[in-house]
Amino acid sequence: MIRIEKLHKSYPIGKDSLHVLKGIDLHIKEGEFVSIMGSSGSGKSTLLNIVGLLDIHDEGDYYLNGQLIKDLNEKKAAILRNKFLGFVFQSFNLISYKTALENVALPLYYKGMNRKERLKVAMDYLDKVGLKDWASHLPNELSGGQKQRVAIARALVTNPKVVLADEPTGALDTTTTDSVMDLLKDINDEGMTVFVITHEEEVAEQTKRIVRLRDGIIISDTPTKAAKAL
């Protein structure tokens, strides 16, 4: 599903450049549930953004669903994101003037689905995250956990190949964290590839594989107890 070879990424800072990813090799197969851990500034978000086609790498190869990602123009990138990827952000990133239902339906709009069908599908996914009754609420009327569940529904609505989540529980308390993790586990059980960044060991333990980063290199890549239990 995702194959990364000798990936490098630097950020220009003034005249210098900051070498953030220093040769990453990573292979994630379809249906995996992977978490990345590492100290702040180790390059986790950078890696996820490259995987999510929100940013571009400098060196190395990246294959998404077998397709080499190289010199991609924005239009193609947008189509790939729409088709293969679903995003969940730490700060939810819901559009504030759209209702929960409209937010969930938005990726389908860019897919070109008509409104009626779109709202129907979106409602199904809201139901799936347990927020059917909140469909007509604006984001600021929802709790953090509810917002994140709306965001997850939005990430899932196009039925992507991979869900990418950058600290999805970073802004949540323990109970809501659990409900969000349960949701991610459920969708993984249904076969979805899920790739999360987290700081919390308890969260990482609920995934099936933990990749640890330090200073832009992978220092360990191990299956979790949860995976072994299977």
């Binding site: 999510g52 929100l54 940013d55 990133n93 759209k98 860019y110 939005r154 196009t158």
Partner: protein
Amino acid sequence: MKFLFDSDTWQEIYGSIRKNKVRTGITIIGVLWGIFLLVVLLGAARGLENSFNKAFGNFATNSVFVWTQSTDTPFKGFQKGRRFRLNMKDIQVLKSEYADEIKLLAPRNQTMNLIVKDFKSGSFKVSGDFPVLDQIQKKKLIYGRFLNQNDITSSAKVTVISEDIYKQFFEKDEMPIGQNIKINSINYKVIGVYEASNTANIDGDTAYIPFSTYKKVYNTANNIDWMMITANEGIDIEQMESDVLLTLKNLHKVHPEDERAFGSFNLGKEIAKFTGFLTGMQFLTWFVGIATLIAGVFAIGNILLITVKERTKEIGIRRALGATPKSIRQQIILESVFLTTVAGMVGIIMGATVLMIIDTLFGQGEDATLVNPTVNIPIILAAFTALVVLGTLIGLIPAHMATVVKPIEALREE
């Protein structure tokens, strides 16, 4: 173009317009004001021009009026303060000496007289005139005709009266032609009634009678009160005025430098002044109008820029969800075109309303200052289109910027 008819497109636009009320308000006010100002300015300028045309439109504008006063310099044995009169010999001389320059020449005699019909009476100006007067100062006749050469030759006792005189002596819609009125106790047959309004009528309410009749009845011999001269096309009217005055001074033994002996009024000169003023005003209108439009264009562009800036994050989110650069641009541009179109139309409607109000307040009656203040629809449409197109082109810059930055940079924006 399909996206234009897509209800989703409009749903998206409606959503974002409703969300950004302040921005929407500012855009609408900016554009509305620009168009509104342009409509009102152009309309008012047109109104002024119309009222000017109405006032002078029936008048040969290259005309000079000449009359006599009294000398202010002794000359050839005459004391200063001498009074003298113009006469038909002067007319003869001028006609032959200035055959090339003078187009029309109307000698005139005028007096105030009592007009009586049945048991009604009133004092009005009576004027002895030639048919040529009608060419210098066009009369719009409601009934009958103006004086003609036959009336002159036969010294007919006929008269052409003003609408107001008619109203005073006749019933409403009564046929005046062929009826008699008494001027100074002498019967005249009414042969015409002219419309007094809508014309700068230097005569006021006048009963015109043939020049020859006047001469007999009032015993004026060869004397005349004053004359109206119209120059040929392309003749320098001021030059002609001073030449004619010099010739007349010579004929009447008046010192060439005498300033008071002859009075004259150069209509051409006065009108030239006013035309200059009108041209200046039109220029000003256009200048202000175009400046307003440019300001409007920048306002739209600027607002779009702000829009895009404050919505960078939203645009980033949309891009992460699969919005293509084209769809982002389309939305931003469609939004601005929609806003400017609505605002522009409201501006045009408001401007037209104000012009209508101006018309009812100042545009009615005989001495209206602004007659029929209107604007050319093509001009307004052109200005409007320019506003929308230029505004949108400027808006393309921020819209483009919003799509060239990497999505992650847009997302990082707070």
